[in-house]
Symmetry: C2
Subunit: 192 residues, 2 copies
């Protein structure tokens, strides 16, 4: 992941710039300027702009897939698994908010085969999420709810959490987790 110190620096600065201006609108000169070097110097550390995007996105998608696998393989109740998934999103958001922004918007600019790998990982993730959500709803006798719409609501909020976190970086993570779990799950389970 982080061979040299310089490469780590490039990846970090790139993700921040990509988050702020978008991948396409960020130039190699912009990235280089952030490191106080000239653009061609970047190519001693990375193959090109596309490689930066691929590393950033695929590493993060891996972290999500790995986290979901761990939850899936556990012996927790479905409801607890659901809470763990929310915690997984929160943890990764606090650890890497810039990366989360790319996951939400700049993944479209991935080129093949990275694009296909990314979409496949995301689909697998959402399928697991959907399964756990459906089983939880079943156990709580709420089979009537529109699962896809509920999943979509939860994912939308979790995906945009990075922007909220960037504006409120001082929040207590445990408080945040408590509030988010309430907001997201009560909407589905505590209907009148």
């Amino acid at each position: 992941m982080a061979e040299s110190n310089r490469k780590t620096q490039i990846l970090k600065d790139s993700s921040r710039l990509f988050r702020k201006r978008g991948y396409t609108a960020t130039s190699m000169r912009d990235i280089a300027a952030e490191l106080n070097i000239e653009a061609p110097s970047l190519y001693n550390h990375i193959k090109g702009k596309q490689e930066i995007l691929q590393i950033l996105l695929l590493d993060l998608a891996q972290a999500f897939t790995h986290g979901m696998n761990t939850i899936n393989e556990s012996s927790l109740s479905y409801r607890s698994k659901l809470e763990r998934i929310i915690k997984l999103h929160l943890d990764l958001t606090i650890l890497n908010p810039d990366g989360m922004a790319l996951l939400t918007s700049d993944w479209i600019h991935l080129e093949e085969p990275a694009f296909g790998e990314f979409v496949k990982m995301r689909e697998g993730y959402e399928l697991s999420f959907r399964h756990i959500l459906r089983e939880t709803l079943k156990k709580e006798g709420k089979e009537s709810a529109n699962i896809d719409l509920a999943l979509f609501s939860i994912l939308s909020t979790l995906r945009w959490l990075y922007s909220w976190y960037l504006k409120n970086p001082d929040i207590n993570p445990i408080e945040l987790e408590k509030e988010m779990t309430e907001n997201l799950l009560s909407g589905i389970f505590n209907r009148k």
Copy 2:
């Protein structure tokens, strides 16, 4: 808004392309190709690429501001106003899903003074939303909730609804409204 037929066509095709590839990654040649003309011909109808973005975004922001004003000036209860705001989002999403995508992501690429106007309108809108949400929570004795986080959750879901709608265009709008209102408001009001 729509002086000539050609201009309307340009705006419509542009918003679809911007939604799919992003503003920066869409070229004037791409837009022209969609209309089966050459890029320079576009300039007989619009001043440039930036003008297209500005018309699309400011018109839609206007629609939101106007809708919110109408709700604010009404004599409805706060809870009913909240439901009307959700309906406003749903209506505009169904009417113009491509535009909603720009509202969520491509507004960063607006240049001044359009950028400032847009941000000002959005801030006013969110302030009204926040006020109505707070008053509703107060009336229902739920003052403990984190209002900003609740507002953020609701807005995240509403802003991403366009992507869900594009994948599920056959849903009954009334059914959608009912489900969304349940999902979004129960999470805040029906906590155990």
